[in-house]
Structures are given as structure tokens and as C-alpha cells.
Symmetry: C2
Subunit: 214 residues, 2 copies
């Protein structure tokens, strides 16, 4: 990798490339043109060439990219060429859905612990995991080798969940609760807020309506 300072928007596109390249790899494809990759990812070819320049020379003039080499290079530099252990805090509807979702495991994220503060949920088994009390996070995180925390609590409990995760030494958090959380600067946080996407679609429909596009 040429540089570690990869912009945030690039990381998001790289994640999309990984997805497409993995599908191609599974289908036994050896090479893909930058046009083909661009079409599959919904971006333009020059953007792809620019993004992939971070990883050195993978393009072959007149041919395209070697699927497996490119996939390996991107995964290595994103740090996703290995399994990451995840603790999930908040076993409500969304938490349960994530625990049962195959895509986490498939993409290299293994949920090793599920936590909740509701005594009625503690001890329950979901997708092969026993639900533990959130208070036990600090005690169990080392044993379970937790690296990433996923917060799926109601908004009001998200900060407490974040505190438990930080105290347990977790260095990265993906927060699905629709509130900001305060964590030390060396803890990486990402917010997943699907309501933004609904707002955006509603806005674009209104905009298209006002343009008379329908």
C-alpha cells in the first residue's frame, strides 16, 4: 500500500469493491475490466482507477484487474483479511436480526458475545450465543477477545453501552442507536442511521415531483 491516509469516502467505495470482487472470485472470474467493475459498483471508471491507485499497480493495460490480487490487496490494507471479534450490546429486534444475519460472519465479523441489561433477556440463547449482562462486559471482553463493539440499544442506553465497551478496552464501535456517543479519541466510531437514507429518498421523490418528472 502506498499510503495509509485513505479518505473516508474512498473506504466506503473500497468496501463496495470488496463485495463485488468477492462475488466475482466465487464465480471463478480471474480478470475484470475497470469499466466492468465501475458498472457493477455504480461509480465511474476514472474514480475506480483513482481509488485503486492507493494499492499500487494492479491494472493491466487492455485487460483490467486481476480479481484475486486486487481483492487480497484491498482486504489487507483495510485490515479485513482476518476475522474480527465483535460484542453486540442490546438484544432488541435489531440486535437479534444482526445476531442471526449471515452477512456479518461472511464478511469476517464474528459475534463472540451478546449483552443486554434486561434481566428477562440475560441467559436467553440467540443464534447459538448466550445473552450476558452488560455489566459483565469488562470481565468477559478479554476472555472472548472482543475487538469491536456493536451498539443496538434504544437511544437512551447507547452512551452507557459505549461506556461499558470503552471500559472493556474495545477500540472500535459501530453504533446503530440514533444518538451521538462520547468516547475517547483513540476509539473509532461509526454511525449506522438508516433513517437518513429514508429522509434522502423522501427528499429526492419530492424534488422529482417538483421537477414534474412523474
Amino acid at each position: 500500500m502506498k499510503s495509509t491516509r485513505i479518505p473516508r469516502a474512498t473506504i466506503q467505495r473500497l468496501a463496495a469493491y470488496v463485495q463485488i470482487l468477492e462475488t466475482l472470485s466465487q464465480e471463478g472470474e480471474k480478470v475484470i475490466s475497470s469499466e466492468g467493475l465501475a458498472r457493477a459498483c455504480g461509480v465511474n471508471p476514472s474514480q475506480i482507477r483513482k481509488d485503486l491507485a492507493y494499492f499500487g499497480e494492479f491494472g493491466v493495460r487492455g485487460v483490467g484487474y486481476y480479481v484475486q490480487d486486487l481483492l487480497t490487496a484491498i482486504k489487507q490494507s483495510l485490515g479485513i483479511d482476518r476475522i474480527w471479534n465483535v460484542a453486540l450490546v442490546g438484544v432488541g429486534n435489531l440486535g437479534r436480526a444482526l445476531l442471526r444475519h449471515k452477512i456479518l460472519r461472511k464478511r469476517g465479523f464474528m459475534v463472540v458475545g451478546a449483552f443486554d441489561c434486561d434481566p428477562f433477556k440475560i441467559g436467553e440463547e440467540i443464534a447459538g450465543l448466550e445473552v450476558y449482562s452488560s455489566k459483565r462486559l469488562q470481565e468477559l471482553a478479554q476472555e472472548l477477545n472482543v475487538e469491536i463493539g456493536v451498539i443496538t440499544t434504544p437511544p437512551k442506553r447507547a452512551q452507557r453501552a459505549a461506556n461499558y465497551l470503552v471500559e472493556a478496552g474495545v477500540k472500535g464501535i459501530v453504533n446503530f442507536a440514533p444518538v451521538r456517543i462520547d468516547v475517547p479519541e483513540n476509539v473509532a466510531v461509526e454511525y449506522v442511521d438508516f433513517i437518513h437514507h429514508l429522509f434522502s429518498v423522501a427528499f429526492n421523490i419530492s424534488l422529482n415531483l417538483s421537477k414534474g418528472l412523474f
Copy 2:
């Protein structure tokens, strides 16, 4: 509203402002400083001022913003000052979680129909909604007044779900399946891919580790 050409990144931030302003409004707050709003949203004050300039003059020098006026103005221009009717296609774990999630309704998105192609799921009742066959989308969309489609199918069925929605006249789609979908140009599409956020956190942890931050 001064302009309808609001950049995509701005829309995402506006959605975050709406969230914070609604909480403040519920708590009875009348005014917020741009610094206060910036802190709550995790952006810098000059960004807020720039974003809010699309909506005219809401700031009061030395005071801040009037919470209710600003909230109303943003919601109006995003087209979210009313209820949008949503059809959800794909009643798996994630689909069920969304059907039961209070936040959709709370933010103005009412799921009026749930659809699946699995005969074992058709007829089931989830969160007060009967699951219909996806084949009936076109027939039921008008009756139910569906405006937005949410796709929560497995990746391989997402395109078919999109086709059903487009044939039913739906003008906006939020796709949770981790694949691109092809739709006519006048149909707004948003992709929700939480794996990107996990990739991003993993990358940032790796980066922090390599910097010796831990």
C-alpha cells in the same frame, strides 16, 4: 427554501440536525446556539451555518437558532413534514426487525404493507401487518398508497423485489440488500450497507494500532 440543489452530504447532516432538534423540541428548548447544535451533531459550527444557509435566515446574532422554526423549515424542505407510506419487501430477520422498530413510524415513515415470496411467510402477521405475496405488490400498491419501497431480501432476490416495486409505481427505494439494483432514472435509490461501517471501524483500529496509539 433558497435552493433545491442541496448536496447529498448536506442532506445527511440535515437529517442529523432534525434528530437533535426534535429531541430539543420535546425537551421544551426554545433556542440553541450554533456551537451547541454543532457539538450535539459532531460537526463544526461553520459547517452548520453553511448548511442552514440553504433555508434562509434562522440564526439570531448572539442567541442562536429558534428550535421549532428551524425544525419546521428543514422538515419542509426535505419533504418530511408529512407521513410517507412504505412497503417492505423481504420478511427475514432484518425485515422483521424493521417492521417492529418504532423509529420508522416516529420519524414519519409508516409501513403499510409487508411482502415476501416465501409461501410459508405469506399470511403471517408481524407488528399488526399481514404478509402478502410479492406478486401482489402491483395490485396492492395503489390501494395501500405505497410511496417508498424498502428491500430487505437476500441479495439474490433484491433485483426482483426492485422490479416489483418499480412496476407498482414506487418512486423511491431504500435497499438493505448488499447488491446494486437497476431501476429507471426517475426512481430514487439509497443503499444501506452496515458492513461498510464495520470495515471502516476495522480499518481505523488497524490504522491506530500501526500508529502505536494503544
